[in-house]
Structure formats: structure tokens, C-alpha cells
Amino acid sequence: MKELKIIVCAKQIPDPEAPFSAVTVDSKKKEVKVDAPEVISPYDENALEAALRIKESSKAFITVLSVGSSLSDTVLRKAIAAGADQLVMVEDDSFGRLDSYSTAYVLSKAISMLGEYDLILTGRQAGDWDWGQVGLILGEILGLPTINMAAGITVRDGHVEVSRLVPAGLELVEAKMPALVTVSNEVGELRYVSRSKILGMLKKRIPIKKVSKGDLNLEPEFLNTMELLELLPPSDMRRDCVIVEGATGKEKAERLFEIIKQIL
């Protein structure tokens, strides 16, 4: 059986699940600062998990592809530790604030450079800017059958079968590969990778391919940064919380019962 080539697009971002007290908005510099470590964007981890499950039943080679301005192999190594075969990092200082089309364009150029592929997986949306569009745009640029919002993916006989989330429930769809699928959290969390395994890998040589802007023959016309006029802090969500006191759980529950009765 032919080896499937799967490409997982993964973005490196500040941990989107950091508590909001760790986030500050610098309106002058138009920057969001997050006092938390960088991670692989959560839905991209789901996409990687989907790829790893395919690899369990078919012969597959998984490439994790990331575009950005200051990528860290310590963050992205986690993908290799989880079972990906190769990491491709496309890095340039000017890639920090690319708009969605331009990001998809750079990804498409990197993908073409990598050669043949069967399946491209992306997350449904990145956890920093919450655009939810790079995957779908990439599918258009490459002219691929594109399936949005996968909850489950299987591959057979050159076809990909996806159960995808739709308002009525789930829709089962099928496309001929090569195809692009965007992945939602319903496919399942990325398998557990112990920290010691990730750290242990720091000593090993792992398959990382670094690609620079110059390698990709990019046309400046398609490289645009977002036109960001302002960056503002969110409106204040805080309320004065009354803590329901009581010596025992029962007492607290009784007080809460009275409060709820009042509200209803």
C-alpha cells in the first residue's frame, strides 16, 4: 500500500487558555501580551490527533507545517513527540501579522515545495486571532475538495470520508484525495505526551526543515499584513460577586436556594 502523505498546518500562539488576568492589551503598540508560554493552537493539536489516528490504520507520513515570525522548536517539537514524522518551519520577521489570505498563500507555496500530498489538515480556527479562515482559503488556493468542521476522519481507497458538524447534527461526506479538511475539537484531544518525552527529544536530532522566505518564490502582491487601526481592551465583564457563606455545604445550598428562588 502506498504511503499516505498528510500535512498538518499548525500555528504557534500564546496559550489561549491562560487566565484573562495574564493578558494585557498595549493599545499604543497595538499588541496583545500574554504572560504564558507559547503552545500549538488547540484545534491544530486536534488536527494532528486526527492525522495520528489515520496513521494507526494506514501507512502514513505526517508533516507538521508552521508559518510565523519567531517559531520555537521547543514548542513545535511536541508534535514530533506525539508521533509526527517531520517538522517544517517557515519563518520570517515579516510573517508576524500576515492577513489570512497571505498566510494561506505562504502555506500553499510551502506545500507545493514539499511535493506530493494526499491530505491537508488544519484547525477550524486559531486561538489567537480567531479568524477561522486560513484552512478554507488554502483549500481554494490549491483547488482542493474542502471539508469544513470535521468531527471524525477516515481514509480508504484514495478517498477521505468525514463526519462533519452541521446544525442538524452530523453530515457524512466523501471526497477524492488530495483534499483539505478543517478539524474541530470533536475529533478528540491530542494524545498525551509526557513532558519528559518532549524534554528528552531536545537531546536528539529531530527532523526539522527550516524554510526561509527566499526559498519560496513569493510574489509580494500576495503578501499583505492586516490593516489594524486600533487594538482595544475588552469591555469590563467583572461583577461584584457575593460569596454564599455557610458552615456546611448544606447551609450554603439552603442560602443559594433562597437566592435562586428570588431570581426566578
Binding site: 486571532w129 477561522g132 446544525p167 487601526l229
Partner: protein, 329 residues
């Protein structure tokens, strides 16, 4: 003349509330921009939907009826919308940030080489260059970006429940039937079948009892279900919601999820049980009238946005609440 075009959406041929919100957003933009406000309606058997739309302040309704568009097929919809927009050349094209808008919007943006700003909560006109200023929450809601885009038309998806629905108004609406070359040749993804699941309509609930990872096990959601049931028995519509990890673990189906990538709700009472209060959850429920949080961690974020907080193991609290309510009936 500048045209603001919105994409109507229907559910079983009934116009969605989000479409009425788009009409309101379009109307506000029109008062600054001038020109006309129009609506694009795709599908089959749309007489009822047209009647509904006619009551609203729309200058035009473009109707594209075709059996191929009866159900939502992304490839056919994208192809139709691309043709329609290329023909009509609107200045602005607004879609809802709904499953449909989220899917066709980016693909349309790629084809038309025009920037799409997704999930906007505000739109305004820059009078200087007459471009649209788009306001969009980012980082889950931890910041708000104000942006412009390039290309035509200006493409936007608008978050639901931000604009209030437009009020009906006697306007003379012209109905224009569109003729487009549609063929199922464009379909690259074949739909095999739909597995229908009953969907909870969280946005219609008056009370939501919502559970998070802290619930610990699927079976324990029975406690939340029971509480909701007892409230329902008192004639108040109560439903069970959840945070995302609950969906990830398969404890509840996705339609129960509250938040940025779930449903945005604003019930009279939201009870957050074992939910820490990550920003992506909060944006979906902070507009609730009253918020009660039950959590063992006194420092959790949920207490910062709640009206009432109970620091305790949820099981103990829910057991007592349930027996109190059972005692009432």
C-alpha cells in the same frame, strides 16, 4: 450607487433571526453610506421567506431559486454566491457568523481576493475614504481589534445577537429573480447522509444549568439534568449547557456547548458548575442577567464575573438544591 448586500439564511424555509439582525446592521450602515440595502436569498420554495423579508426595510430582494440549492451544499453555495456577487458588485456583503457564513465567507474571500473580517461585533463607515471599519474581538475576547480590509466587496461575517433584529417597516421592496449558471459539476465533496440529532436550543432557555470539566464524569450530568427538570416543572424553561472539555470527552453533544465556538446565550439565570471561566467560555454567557458559580477553587475566573459564588463541591450543593426543589412539589 453603493449597494449593501446581506445574505439571508433560512431554516426549513423560515428566515433566521440572524438575518433580521443583518438587516439592522445593513440599515445602520446605509444611513451613513447612502445607496441601497438588499438581501440575497438562495434556496427552493422560498415564497414564505420572501413574504417575511418584504416586511423589512429592504430596497431589493434578489431571489435565486434552484432545486440544487435546496439543502446547504457548500460547493454549490460558494459558486452561486461568487457569481451573484460578481454580477451585482455590491460595495459591502455581510453574512451571519453562522455555520453557513463561516464556511462560505472565507472561500468567497479567496475567490474574490477581498479581505473577510470574521465574527464582527460592529461596523462603521470611515467618511474619509468611505471604507468600512470592522470591529472584531480577538484572543477569545481578551482584546478588540479595529480593522479595515482591501478588495471588493467589503466582506464581513457578523456575530449573532449583537445587533437587535430590525423592526418591520413598510418599504417598497423590489424582487429580482437571479438567473445563474449552476451545475452540480462544481461539487467536489459528496454528501452521503445526515445523521440528525435533536439539538438543544440553548438560546431559547430562561435558565441554563451548565457543567464543566469539574463535573468529573458523564453520569454526574444527571444531577444537572434533574435540577433543570425540576425547574421546568415550575414552568420555567431550563436546559443543560456545558463547556468545551465536556464535549471533547463525549459527555454531552456539541449543541450543549456555550461559548465562542458554541452557542452565545443570555438567559435570566446561568448556573456555572465546575467551570473555571476561560475567556472563550465567558464571552458566550457574560450577558446573562444573573450568574451563579459553583466551584471548589475560590480563585477561579468564574467568580469574577458571577453575581453569586458558592465555594464547595458541586455534588453536595446540587443534591441539596434538588431535594429542596423536590420538597416544594
Amino acid at each position: 450607487m453603493d449597494e449593501i448586500l446581506i445574505l439571508a439564511e433560512t431554516k426549513e424555509t423560515q428566515i433566521e433571526k440572524s438575518t433580521h439582525e443583518l438587516i439592522q446592521a445593513g440599515r445602520e450602515l446605509k444611513s451613513a453610506l447612502g445607496g441601497i440595502l438588499s438581501c440575497l436569498l438562495l434556496g427552493e420554495g422560498m415564497d414564505g421567506a420572501v413574504k417575511d423579508l418584504e416586511q423589512y426595510p429592504l430596497d431589493r430582494i434578489y431571489l435565486l431559486e434552484n432545486p440544487l440549492l435546496k439543502d446547504f451544499s457548500p460547493d454549490l453555495w460558494v459558486s452561486s454566491l461568487e457569481q451573484a456577487v460578481r454580477n451585482l458588485k455590491p460595495k459591502v456583503f455581510i453574512m451571519a457568523h453562522s455555520p453557513t457564513g463561516r464556511e462560505v465567507g472565507p472561500r468567497l474571500s479567496a475567490r474574490l481576493k477581498s479581505t473577510l473580517t470574521t465574527d464582527c461585533i460592529g461596523l462603521r463607515l470611515d467618511p474619509e475614504d468611505r471604507r468600512i471599519v470592522r470591529v472584531k474581538p480577538i484572543y477569545g475576547g481578551n482584546a478588540v481589534a479595529v480593522l479595515k480590509g482591501k478588495g471588493n466587496p467589503e466582506l464581513i461575517t457578523l456575530r449573532k445577537n449583537v445587533y437587535s433584529p430590525a423592526a418591520p417597516e413598510g418599504t417598497k421592496t423590489e424582487i429580482i429573480k437571479l438567473q445563474l449558471a449552476l451545475s452540480d459539476q462544481v461539487v467536489k465533496v459528496k454528501a452521503l447522509r445526515t445523521i440528525f440529532r435533536e439539538q438543544v436550543e440553548l438560546d431559547k432557555a430562561e435558565v441554563i444549568i451548565s457543567g464543566g470539566r469539574g463535573i468529573g464524569a458523564k453520569e454526574d450530568f444527571q444531577l444537572l439534568e434533574r435540577l433543570a427538570e425540576l425547574i421546568n416543572q415550575r414552568g420555567i424553561k431550563a436546559l443543560v449547557g456545558c463547556s468545551r472539555p465536556v464535549v471533547d470527552k463525549g459527555w454531552l453533544s456539541s449543541d450543549h456547548q456555550v461559548g465562542l465556538t458554541g452557542t452565545m446565550v443570555a438567559p435570566g439565570l446561568y448556573v456555572a458548575v465546575g467551570i473555571s471561566g476561560a475567556i472563550q467560555h465567558l464571552v458566550g454567557m457574560v450577558r446573562s442577567k444573573k450568574i451563579v458559580a459553583i466551584n471548589t477553587d475560590p480563585n477561579c475566573n468564574m467568580f469574577k464575573v458571577a453575581d453569586y459564588g458558592v465555594i464547595e463541591d458541586y455534588k453536595e450543593i446540587l443534591h441539596h438544591l434538588i431535594s429542596k426543589l423536590e420538597g416544594l412539589s
